[in-house]
Subunit: 362 residues, 2 copies
DNA sequence: CTGAAAGCGCTTACAG
DNA sequence: CTGAAAGCGCTTACAG
């Protein structure tokens, strides 16, 4: 019992394949009676056009691809991605498209791209200097770049990482911290001096803010450790930081998930937070509000980022012009995890706070 | 400048299409020199086999479909789904498949199925008595049913919902509660007496536990309200419950996300938890531990469920026999959100606790 | 309003 | 080891 095809229906209904095709795709081309007769026969025989055969001729799959920097399992652990996907999903629903999650295939993003049958890609958080972009161009598959440095001729959405990073580091320093550790997101590259895109922008923000207080990553009071952007990464990073002789009074993490991993590990080790150690993040995940102490961090409009990325992709699917670049704003969110360092408190109990232009929430 | 196809490469390399195809899919069929020559030419011209054309002949898309009961945006909001997807994603990574998220198309799951080019579906939380199953069978597309009543001849994975529900309700009642509200998950059906599958099993568990204390859904002390399984659903349900004249001392929600919505709304309205109102959930989402008071709930192995579902689907893709049915265990997790009712406490301060066989965690 | 035919870009027996 | 040819199941000018 083989699958029923358009030929079977054509025969059974006593019409041509063309007519059957029209009955499904453009009934107005047919007499009412013909169309409904065909649909009846199809219904009865359980026929429905084969999606891949259809894609073959129409050159469209009806699927949007989300090109991921990591395995699906890892991605789904990270609230940043799920929030991003909410935005993408919203658009998918509106335009009636399906979302294909495309992780590296056998460890290679480059492999994954040509194997995925999608109309276009949202490229998320990839270091795009390698062959991916070239490959997608050659294959003529539309894409939009998110959280990476895009060339002028490709649509992109980014966030004002520099300002966000600058502002949060400034906030930390203004509290009086002079021993700080930065947890960087591990990139594929050799070291943090090789950062590009988002990571480079955040790092530059931190660096400038430090410089304003005569500090730098070369300074012995400033520590930099790298870790994969995950809860476990935060844990590892904290442990590395805390095992050093000279412990910092504040940790600034490049992502909330890192900050949260570090914070919870610190708590589990009886470090009293935030008195003994201040921690700041980046992203403002939903959990940042719920954790105790509530996390002081930088908000970026993650869901909106997803929404805009999907809209940009749809736009480039529909007409092949008009390349837009979005840079979305960030905002420091002050909660409870960053306070004046303990030492400082005792010595200078009356020192007035610097006046920061930041929004205060609970 | 059209897309480069296998023909272009064949010509450029001076070989047949067959040879080009082999160079990519089975180089052992070719002389080494031929194969590498072809690959070089392909590389140079930026050729890579078209995935949909390939699917056309191989009858395989390399994508697993996840058939969703709601929009992607809604699904990604619900930690239950993301946890499930972690399990699925793990398997996808191992077998080198892609994951296609397939929400209802224009509101219809039935529409969505034939439009998705996937090798098979994981059908999640659908009321499967409608045409979906029939449709997938006709189209000969493999599937596995999760969280629904499956027929004997289709692979399925479920959880022991009945026991979990029975145990948590028994726990609540054993604390002395006699005024309880149940928040049900809104199904498409008319009322909760129409529940099937997971929902029916949970309801039956609650019902039996109530019966053991001479209570039932007809009893005026037992209230049942339905809401969509989301934070907002929990909020709505709480408001409805709390606006009644006779307020319950405990709420038992059919999912954690409902419980959390209700709990946070109650807190926002200055209801003092858990003294004034006990709340229990179902699922044991990660956030259940973090919320205050920490949520007493039923744990189900959600990620494992996803993993098993994906493995079952892979199995049925690889050989078309062997239908397995999994029923995974549940477990009551006692935290802080269910306590003896206030009233009761004052009147009978010394009453001993019932001895429950349950695991206690923080 | 309807149908015969070409074509989408591959893979895969089959023959040599 | 290599190639000519059929076929996968549709859609879409084109002709009538």
């Amino acid at each position: 019992m083989r699958k029923v095809t358009i030929n079977d229906i054509a025969k059974a209904a006593g019409v041509s394949k063309t007519a059957v095709s029209f009955a499904f795709n453009d009934p107005s081309q047919l007499a009412q009676a013909t169309a409904s007769h065909i649909r009846e026969v199809a219904e009865q025989m359980g026929y429905t056009p084969d999606p891949v055969a259809r894609s073959m001729t129409t050159k469209r799959t009806n699927a949007l691809g989300l090109l991921l920097p990591q395995d699906i399992a890892k991605v789904m652990e990270n609230p940043f991605y799920t929030e991003f996907m909410r935005g993408v999903g919203k658009v998918c629903g509106q335009v009636g498209r399906t979302l294909m999650l495309v992780p590296p295939l056998w460890g290679s993003t480059l492999e994954a791209i040509p194997h995925a049958a999608v109309d276009g890609f949202i490229v998320l958080g990839l270091e795009i200097d390698r062959g991916e972009v070239q490959l997608m161009r050659q294959r003529r598959i539309p894409f939009v770049i998110v959280d990476s440095e895009a060339l002028d001729d490709m649509p992109s959405v980014n966030v004002d990482d520099y300002s966000g990073a600058h502002a949060i580091m400034t906030h930390v320093l203004s509290k009086g911290h002079r021993h700080v550790a930065v947890i960087g997101i591990e990139s594929g590259k050799t070291g943090f001096d090789q950062y590009t895109g988002t990571l480079a922008a955040r790092l530059a923000g931190y660096r400038e803010a430090l410089a304003a207080h005569h500090l730098s990553f070369d300074h012995r009071n400033v520590q930099f450790v790298e870790a994969p952007s995950s809860w476990e990464g935060g844990q590892m990073a904290f442990e590395r930081i805390w095992s050093r002789e000279c412990r910092p009074t504040a940790i600034v993490a490049m992502s909330d998930i890192l900050a949260i991993g570090a914070l919870e590990t610190a708590k589990a080790q009886q470090v009293s937070l935030p008195e003994e150690l201040s921690i700041a993040g980046f992203d403002d995940l939903p959990e940042a509000r719920h954790i105790r102490p509530a996390l002081t961090t930088v908000r970026q409009p993650t869901e909106e980022k997803g929404r805009i990325a999907a809209e940009l992709l749809m736009a480039s699917l529909e007409n092949h012009q008009a390349v837009a670049h979005y840079v979305l704003p960030t905002e420091v969110i002050i909660r409870k995890s960053v306070v004046r360092p303990y030492q400082d408190r005792i010595e200078q109990p009356k020192q007035t706070l610097h006046n920061q232009k930041v929004k205060i929430t609970r």
